[in-house]
C-alpha cells in the first residue's frame, strides 16, 4: 500500500517514517560514541553536546553568536531579494532587459563565491559589510536567473486575456506577471535562503569575530568538537525554521496555489 507510485500515505505513517530515520541516525551516533568505537576527541556523545548547549545557552554566548549570524544572513538576503525579484521579473518579461543582462549574469553566476572572499576582505575589510557582501554575491545572481525563468513561464494567453480586458502593456508586470509568478518566486526565495546560510559560514570561517562559523573555527583549534556540532545543529534548526516560515508565507499570500 505504501509503495504505490505517487499515492498519498496517512499522516501518522508519514510522521513515523520521518521519526524513524532520525532515530536511526541518533541511534547510530549513540552506538559509535557510548559504545566507545570512536574517540570523543573526534565525535562527542549526544549527551556531551546537550550539556555544552546548556552551558552556552546559560552564559548567553550561543544566542549572541546565533543572532550575529542570523543578522548577517537576514540583511544580505533581504538586500539581494529586494533587487532580484523586480529585476528578475522584468528580465523574464522584456527581451531587451534579458539581452542586456543575460551574458553578464551567466558569467558571474558560475564564478565560485569563495574566490571573491579575499577580494572582499581587501576592499571592504572584515566587518559585517564583508560577510553581507559575500551573501549578496552568492544569492543575487542565482535568484535573478531563477526569477526571470518564473516570469518567462507565465502562460502567454494569460497576458493576452489581460490585454483584451483593458490591461495596459506598461502595467503588465505589476498586474499579471508579478501575481502569476508569486508562488514560484516564494519557492525560489525559500531555496536560496538556504544557500545564503552556506555562504555565511564560508564568510565567517575566514573573517569574523562573532557568529556560528567563527565559534566553529575557534572550537576546531581547541579540539572542542561538541561546539562544532552545536553550531552545525543551530544552522540546521534555523534553516528548518526559515523553511517553514516561507511555507507559511506562501500559504498566506498565495492561498490559491495550494
Amino acid at each position: 500500500m505504501a509503495f504505490v507510485p505517487y499515492r498519498p500515505i496517512p499522516l501518522a505513517l508519514a510522521i513515523s517514517l520521518g521519526a524513524a530515520v532520525w532515530a536511526l541516525v541518533i541511534g547510530g551516533w549513540m552506538l559509535l560514541t557510548y559504545g566507545g568505537r570512536v574517540p570523543e576527541m573526534f565525535l562527542p556523545a549526544p549527551g556531551k553536546v546537550l550539556m555544552t548547549a546548556g552551558r552556552l545557552i546559560a552564559d548567553g554566548s550561543l544566542l549572541m553568536h546565533t543572532a550575529a549570524s542570523a543578522q548577517v544572513v537576514l540583511v544580505g538576503f533581504v538586500i539581494s531579494s529586494v533587487v532580484a525579484v523586480p529585476l528578475g521579473l522584468y528580465m523574464g518579461t522584456y527581451k531587451a532587459v534579458q539581452a542586456a543582462l543575460d551574458p553578464l549574469v551567466n558569467f558571474i553566476r558560475y564564478l565560485p563565491v569563495t574566490s571573491f572572499v579575499p577580494l572582499f576582505i581587501l576592499w571592504i575589510g572584515i566587518g559585517i559589510e564583508q560577510r553581507v557582501s559575500v551573501i549578496i554575491f552568492g544569492t543575487f545572481f542565482q535568484q535573478l536567473v531563477m526569477i526571470a525563468d518564473a516570469a518567462r513561464s507565465v502562460p502567454r494567453d494569460l497576458v493576452n486575456a489581460a490585454y483584451t480586458l483593458g490591461t495596459k502593456r506598461s502595467t503588465t508586470v505589476r498586474h499579471i506577471v508579478f501575481p502569476a509568478s508569486l508562488p514560484a518566486v516564494l519557492d525560489i526565495l525559500r531555496v536560496t535562503v538556504g544557500w545564503a546560510w552556506t555562504y555565511l559560514v564560508v564568510a565567517e570561517l575566514v573573517a569574523a569575530k562573532s557568529g556560528l562559523g567563527y565559534i566553529s573555527l575557534k572550537a576546531m583549534r581547541g579540539f572542542q568538537v561538541d561546539i562544532i556540532f552545536l553550531a552545525i545543529a543551530m544552522i540546521g534548526i534555523l534553516g528548518l525554521i526559515t523553511d517553514q516560515g516561507f511555507r507559511l508565507l506562501r500559504r498566506l499570500v498565495a492561498p490559491w496555489a495550494a
Binding site: N160, T164, A254, A257
Partner: protein
C-alpha cells in the same frame, strides 16, 4: 451598454518568418460580421482561423490589409474586443468574483457598480454560488463559463471566441452551447466564434464562414436560418444534415488539395 459593433476584415495577409522559411498563413482574407450577428468560422486545423481572431483582437500584427471594429481601425489589443480563449485563462490568484470584476476595475468603475456586474454576469452563467472560489477549484466547463462572464462584464463591442469549448467533454460542450446562446440572446453582442466542430458551427451561427486550408481564405459563406432556440433534436433535421454534409464537402475538397 456599449452598442454592439460590426467587424470588417479586408484583404488581410499574415506571413510568419522571413526569407525562404516564410509561411503564408492568411492570403488576402476578407469578411464582414454585422452588428449583433453570431458568426462562426470553421476550417481545417492549421488554416489560420485562430490567427485571424488574434489579429482582430490586436494580439498579433497583420502583414497586410485592414481590420476595423465598429468603424475604428484595429491597432493593438483593447477592451472593446473581449475574447474567450481555448486554454483556461482565468487569473489563478483572483477569486471568481474578482476575475469577473477585473475589466471593470481596470476601467475604474466604483466598487458597488463592479459588484452589480459580478452578480449579474455570474447569475447569467449560473455560477452565483461560486463567487468566492478560486479557479483551481472549478471544473473546465465552469472555468469557461467564468471566462464568458468576465469578457461580457467588461462590456465589449464584440466578443471573440477561440474554440472555447474544444477541451470539454461532449456533454459539457452541449450545455455550454445552450448557455452561450442564452447569454448572447440577452446581451446581443456581435460574436465571432472559431471552431473545427461543424455541428457546433451550425447550431450556433447566423452565418458560417468556411475557410480553406493554408493559406487561409474564406471558401464559402452559408446563412443558417433554422429558427432559434435550436433544440437538441435539430441535429437530426434533414436540412441540418444537408448543411453539415455541404460543409464537410467543402472541408474535404481542401484535404484533397493537400495530397
Amino acid at each position: 451598454m456599449t452598442q454592439s459593433a460590426d467587424i470588417t476584415v479586408s484583404n488581410v495577409t499574415l506571413r510568419y518568418g522571413s526569407g525562404p522559411k516564410t509561411v503564408l498563413a492568411l492570403d488576402g482574407l476578407s469578411l464582414e460580421v454585422k452588428p449583433n450577428e453570431f458568426a462562426v468560422i470553421v476550417g481545417p486545423s492549421g488554416c489560420g482561423k485562430s490567427s485571424l481572431l488574434y489579429l482582430i483582437a490586436g494580439l498579433e500584427d497583420r502583414t497586410g490589409g485592414s481590420i476595423t471594429v465598429g468603424g475604428a481601425p484595429v491597432d493593438g489589443p483593447g477592451p472593446d474586443r473581449g475574447m474567450v480563449f481555448q486554454s483556461y485563462t482565468l487569473f489563478p490568484w483572483l477569486t471568481v468574483a474578482q476575475n469577473v470584476a477585473y475589466g471593470p476595475r481596470r476601467r475604474g468603475l466604483a466598487e458597488d457598480e463592479r459588484n452589480r456586474l459580478v452578480t449579474h454576469y455570474l447569475g447569467e452563467v449560473g455560477l452565483a454560488g461560486f463567487a468566492d472560489h478560486y479557479p483551481a477549484q472549478l471544473s473546465g466547463g465552469m472555468k469557461q463559463r467564468v471566462a464568458i462572464a468576465r469578457a461580457l462584464a467588461n462590456d465589449p463591442a464584440v466578443l471573440l471566441m477561440d474554440e472555447p469549448f474544444g477541451a470539454l467533454d461532449s456533454q459539457t460542450r452541449h450545455s455550454m452551447q445552450r448557455l452561450l446562446l442564452r447569454v448572447w440572446d440577452h446581451s446581443q453582442k456581435t460574436v465571432l466564434f472559431v471552431t473545427h466542430d461543424i455541428e457546433e458551427a451550425i447550431l450556433l451561427a447566423d452565418r458560417v464562414f468556411v475557410m480553406s486550408g493554408r493559406p487561409g481564405q474564406i471558401r464559402k459563406v452559408l446563412t443558417v436560418d433554422f429558427p432559434r432556440p435550436r433544440l437538441g433534436d435539430i441535429v437530426l433535421d434533414p436540412a441540418f444534415i444537408a448543411m453539415k454534409r455541404e460543409i464537410m464537402g467543402l472541408l474535404r475538397t481542401d484535404e484533397d488539395d493537400d495530397h
